[in-house]
């Protein structure tokens, strides 16, 4: 299979990342999962949706979780991980395992990306806490997982410094 078009996608994504939003992040994550499984584009990112246990090394479990992102202005977005796949619901979802309520996209991204340098700007972990613009309901460990997936994604595009 000729995969030269992946180079164009990479350029496109780099441009996209310059103006990252929640919607952009979820779309990118979705795309990276799909493409990495299909073509190993940017490695094996899709493996973030899988885990194995110590009983049976061969058996793959899938990461299942329903995230609801809810902005202060009422905008809602859902991300559902199930069966090794990801789906984005731009109108939100009714049932969730973890709900992240946030002031706006900037506040959420600051929270998710805290501690890293993104596009030359150090995103201050302490400031994210001081600003108190993100509330988490439900199982906070899922947010930790999502935080890793976000940073892993940026890492694969050489944006994690």
């Amino acid at each position: 299979m000729n995969l030269h078009w992946l180079g164009d996608i990479d350029d496109l994504i780099q441009a996209w990342l310059a103006d990252l939003s929640l919607d952009g992040l979820l779309t990118l994550m979705d795309m990276a999962i799909y493409l990495s499984r299909l073509t190993h584009f940017k490695g094996d990112y899709y493996r973030n949706l899988e885990y194995v246990d110590y009983v049976n090394n061969q058996k793959i479990h899938y990461f299942n979780c329903r995230y609801l992102f809810e902005a202060k202005d009422g905008a809602r977005c859902g991300a559902v991980f199930a069966g090794g796949d990801m789906k984005v619901f731009r109108q939100g979802i009714s049932k969730w395992d973890v709900k992240i309520a946030f002031k706006d996209d900037a506040a959420l991204l600051k929270y998710l990306l805290k501690g890293i340098t993104f596009h030359g700007i150090k995103i201050d972990a302490e400031q994210a806490l001081l600003d108190n613009e993100v509330q988490v309901y439900g199982n906070v460990n899922y947010l930790f997982k999502f935080g890793h997936m976000t940073k892993d994604l940026l890492d694969r595009f050489g944006l994690l410094a």
């Binding site: 110590y54 806490l129 001081l130 460990n141």
Partner: protein
């Protein structure tokens, strides 16, 4: 009282030489960056999965004990570490020559992950933790993958926070007790972090050996009904003893193996000695000082595998180890100098791990070690002088090593301990600049005796238990090996109570608008209050409400620990569980207290004094609306008001020997104790109150707005029980000491940290130590019963320039030791705010004069 030998009195000049390998090992230790180790989470996760331990909705103590045995049996036996990671994360080969084999992790300086507790906070930072600016941890790519794809996923719905949430807070209500904790500004309940904030008892392990203890446990198993709670308990003890003995055997085998291939004779001899020692102990009773140290070290390793490294402490080692030390010295098998070398090596082993901390935690609360406290000196169970030669040996080892872990605490009993001992403690403080903390036996024993009596013990038992106190974590006194008292269970921010009172149940962090949630009860608007008593009454209402919420959450966390996280290893080394046949987590210890430590105490007391004087009584300088406006505007354009509020001659302050200021602090302590009175924790114990703040007074200070005492938004609170710094004019030292000495110990039985900072001035260390000793005597003095005497005092003795230089050039001062509020830390590991707070603390000159001349120095503009 054991007579102190001339030889140990002169130990202050002894320097462990190159042939002891102490200097080389210390150098490697200071150079080494912490490395995340996944050995523990790997084995623990595998065992829980293989045995499906969560299937029944609870885990028995026997199942858990089998898990620890599995871990100990499979843990890699490391006799000689090979590599460290340097400050720039490059690998560096080291020559490990420690007489103690084994390690808490596989690394020379490791970070232990407890995924069942707070390990998962590292998940979002796995890819960046080795690159973060403050206190980075090294981690390999393969370990990141293992954590991400195997270990952390298993614990997502099984760690203490999630199990507590799903069981008790699953309605996800806005700002329920759990959500309120995550606001960080109200209270921090620390059970997701640890529960075993305590001191185990090593005496039986040393005197009997683990094989004999296991045999006794087997006898109890035989007596108990099969499958009963007691049967499970004693069976669990057998499992953990077998696990620890197996680990020792494997270390002995490894030492034998290394010896076989070692070409160098001296190292061959060292390895042989390790192998022989580990074949004998901890299986058998220790016969020598070195064997006793080895027993403690191996039991300590096992305890840290089970219990998070957060303040777990070792107790009165000069008492526990003295008989074998003395026996060896008399038999001429050991010199005091060799004992110093051994203790130095043990200190490095004890400090071979650091706690898990994510970046936000580092920024707000960072720089902490594992706070493993060791206690020396004081009196014995009968009230006689307990200071012995080993006390001096331990002091010298601490003085030479200047490490943040272990955290040394010296007890001093005025009138019983000798002045020479106090002088020596003070010398060590002058020479290290920060350690040991000094505890006043008289008020501490008085406070603990009263607590034990309330727990139902006779007066004689209560006194005896109190006299045998040791320090946990930072400064918290407990009866060593008897009190399973989670002293730091709740950290309550008192300034939040003040805010809730000012804003009728609302808080600036969660919003003051009409639609904002009310955190506390709707108490009257202060503008409508007729006098200060009304304000105090509203404050009490808010205090009880917030305390109840923090207490309920603590109990719920505790119940989750009981259901899923029994602690058989801790129970094996504790007085009480053996008789009760019950885990310490279930209330098996003799004393089962919990503790509340107060954050922002002096700031709240001073704010009350400001309100009392300027708003409610006398000639009002301001009304409530003016105050609200000034707070909202962070005192901008309110310079005159601000100047009045920070002036102790115009506004009463705690620490100025001014009853108007001190009384509000005493009133606060009384009311906090009242709010806890009659409440029994989930283990059947009572709550105690203390005041030490670690670095939290800066962290929470960052989240808190301006206060009525003149403190501006984001500034640190006063540390521990110290008065507020940066007043104009500054407080005089003697007045501060008198105020601190006047606090009733019964209200602070969980311990205090009174931080004092000195610039060394001129003169010899001996003269400075003499001055410091005079100061301690004055601080602890009861003034013919007019005062109680301060419970504790701790020092930083360095020039302002040294701290400022270290802040600017951290790479040149990696081991500059400081006292934070309670524990010791390396200055350069602290966050910038904490560094500034230490630099800005009230500072006095430690003069060489016979009588100290205290001149508050001019600090910042």
């Amino acid at each position: 009282m054991p007579e102190i030998s001339k030889e140990v009195r002169n130990l202050g000049t002894y320097e462990p030489g190159e042939d002891s390998f102490v200097p080389q090992m210390r150098e490697a230790y200071v150079k080494a960056r912490p490395e995340i180790c996944i050995e523990r989470p790997q084995y623990v996760t595998a065992y829980h999965q293989q045995h499906d331990l969560f299937k029944d909705g609870r885990i028995t103590i026997l199942e858990k004990a089998k898990c620890w045995r599995y871990l100990l049996e499979n843990k890699k036996p490391i006799v000689r570490h090979q590599l460290i990671r340097t400050q720039n994360m490059e690998p560096l080969t080291i020559q490990d020559r420690s007489p103690f084999a084994g390690s808490t992790t596989r690394k020379f300086k490791g970070v232990i992950l407890y995924p069942e507790l707070v390990g998962l906070i590292m998940w979002p930072e796995l890819l960046t933790v080795s690159r973060r600016k403050q206190n980075p941890f090294f981690i390999t790519r393969s370990d990141i993958d293992e954590l991400n794809s195997r270990i952390f996923p298993y614990w997502m719905d099984k760690n203490v926070v999630e199990l507590t949430r799903s069981r008790y807070y699953n309605r996800n209500e806005e700002l329920d007790d759990l959500q309120l904790e995550f606001q960080f500004a109200f209270y921090l309940d620390s059970k997701p972090l640890c529960i075993s904030h305590t001191i185990p008892d090593f005496s039986r392990a040393i005197e009997e050996g683990l094989e004999a203890m296991a045999a006794k446990a087997r006898e109890e198993v035989e007596k108990a009904k099969s499958g009963s709670d007691q049967w499970l308990f004693y069976s669990a003890l057998v499992e953990v003893f077998e696990g620890i003995m197996c680990y020792a055997d494997k270390l002995a085998e490894e030492a034998d193996f290394l010896e076989d291939s070692e070409p160098e004779k001296k190292e061959k001899d060292r390895l042989r000695e390790i192998a022989e020692t580990y074949k004998r102990v901890p299986r058998n009773k220790a016969q020598t000082f070195r064997e006793a140290l080895t027993t403690i070290w191996l039991c300590w390793t096992a305890l840290n595998l089970e219990n998070a490294d957060v303040g777990l402490s070792l107790g009165r080692l000069d008492q526990v180890l003295y008989p074998l030390y003395r026996q060896d010295v008399i038999a001429k098998r050991l010199t005091p100098q060799q004992a110093v070398d051994l203790v130095c090596h043990l200190w490095l082993k004890i400090g071979d791990h650091v706690p898990t901390m994510n970046e936000a935690g580092e920024r707000l609360f960072g720089g902490t070690g594992a706070n493993q406290a060791i206690t020396v000196g004081g009196v014995d169970k009968d009230g006689a002088d307990a200071v012995n030669d080993l006390t001096y040996v331990i002091l010298r080892a601490t003085e030479f090593m200047k490490l943040r872990d272990p955290n040394l605490n010296a007890r001093y009993h005025p009138g019983v301990n000798q002045p020479e001992y106090l002088q020596r403690i003070c010398e060590v403080n002058v020479n290290t600049g920060a350690t040991p903390a000094i505890h006043n036996d008289i008020p501490v024993i008085k406070a603990l005796t009263a607590e034990h009596e309330k727990d139902g013990f006779s007066l004689e038992e209560s006194k005896q238990y109190a006299r045998e106190y040791g320090i946990v974590g930072c400064v918290e006194p407990v009866s060593a090996g008897r009190t399973y008292g989670h002293n730091a269970a709740i950290l309550l921010n008192l300034t939040s109570v003040l805010e809730l009172t000012l804003y009728s149940g609302r808080h600036r962090r969660t919003g003051l608008g009409l639609k904002a949630p009310r955190i506390g009860p709707k108490t009257p608007n202060p503008a409508q209050m007729s006098d200060f008593n009304n304000f105090r009454a509203a404050f009490e209402d808010q205090l009880r409400h917030l305390m109840d919420r923090a207490r309920m959450l603590n109990d719920n966390y505790g119940k989750i620990h009981q259901r899923y996280y029994p602690t058989p290893i801790m129970s094996a080394f504790f007085k009480g569980p053996w008789k009760a046949g019950k885990d310490v987590v279930q209330g098996g210890a003799l004393i089962n207290s919990s503790g509340v430590s107060l954050i922002g105490l002096a700031d709240t007391a001073d704010s009350l004094s400001a309100l009392e004087k300027h708003v409610f009584t006398g000639s009002p300088l301001m009304d409530v609306q003016t105050l609200f406006k000034a707070l909202e505007e962070n005192f901008d354009e309110h310079e005159a008001l601000h100047g009045t509020l920070i002036n102790p001659t115009k506004t009463p302050k705690f620490g100025n020997e001014d009853p108007a200021g001190d009384d509000n602090l005493k009133w606060l302590l009384e009311k906090v104790n009242d709010a806890l009175a009659g409440h029994i924790n989930y283990r059947g114990g009572r709550y105690r109150v203390g005041c030490w703040t670690m670095t939290i007074h800066t962290g929470i200070g960052r989240l808190t707005g301006a206060l009525p005492n003149g403190r501006k938004k984001g500034e640190p609170f006063a540390s521990g029980i110290a008065p507020v710094s940066l007043l104009q004019p500054r407080l005089e030292l003697l007045r501060t000491l008198h105020s601190a000495a006047d606090i009733p110990p019964r209200h602070i039985s969980s311990g205090i940290a009174l931080n004092l900072k000195f610039t060394p001035g001129s003169g010899t260390p001996e003269k400075k130590a003499k001055t410091l000793a005079w100061l301690v005597e004055g601080c602890f003095d009861r003034d013919d019963g007019k005062r109680e005497g301060a419970m504790e005092v701790q020092f930083n003795i360095r020039t302002r320039e040294e701290y400022e230089y270290a802040k600017k050039h951290p790479e040149k001062c990696p081991d500059l030791l400081v006292r934070v509020s309670g524990y010791t830390a390396f200055f350069t590991d602290l966050n910038a705010q904490m560094q500034d707070e230490i630099i800005d603390r009230n500072e006095y000159v430690l003069s060489e004069e016979e009588m100290p001349y205290y001149e508050p120095v001019q600090l910042r503009d």
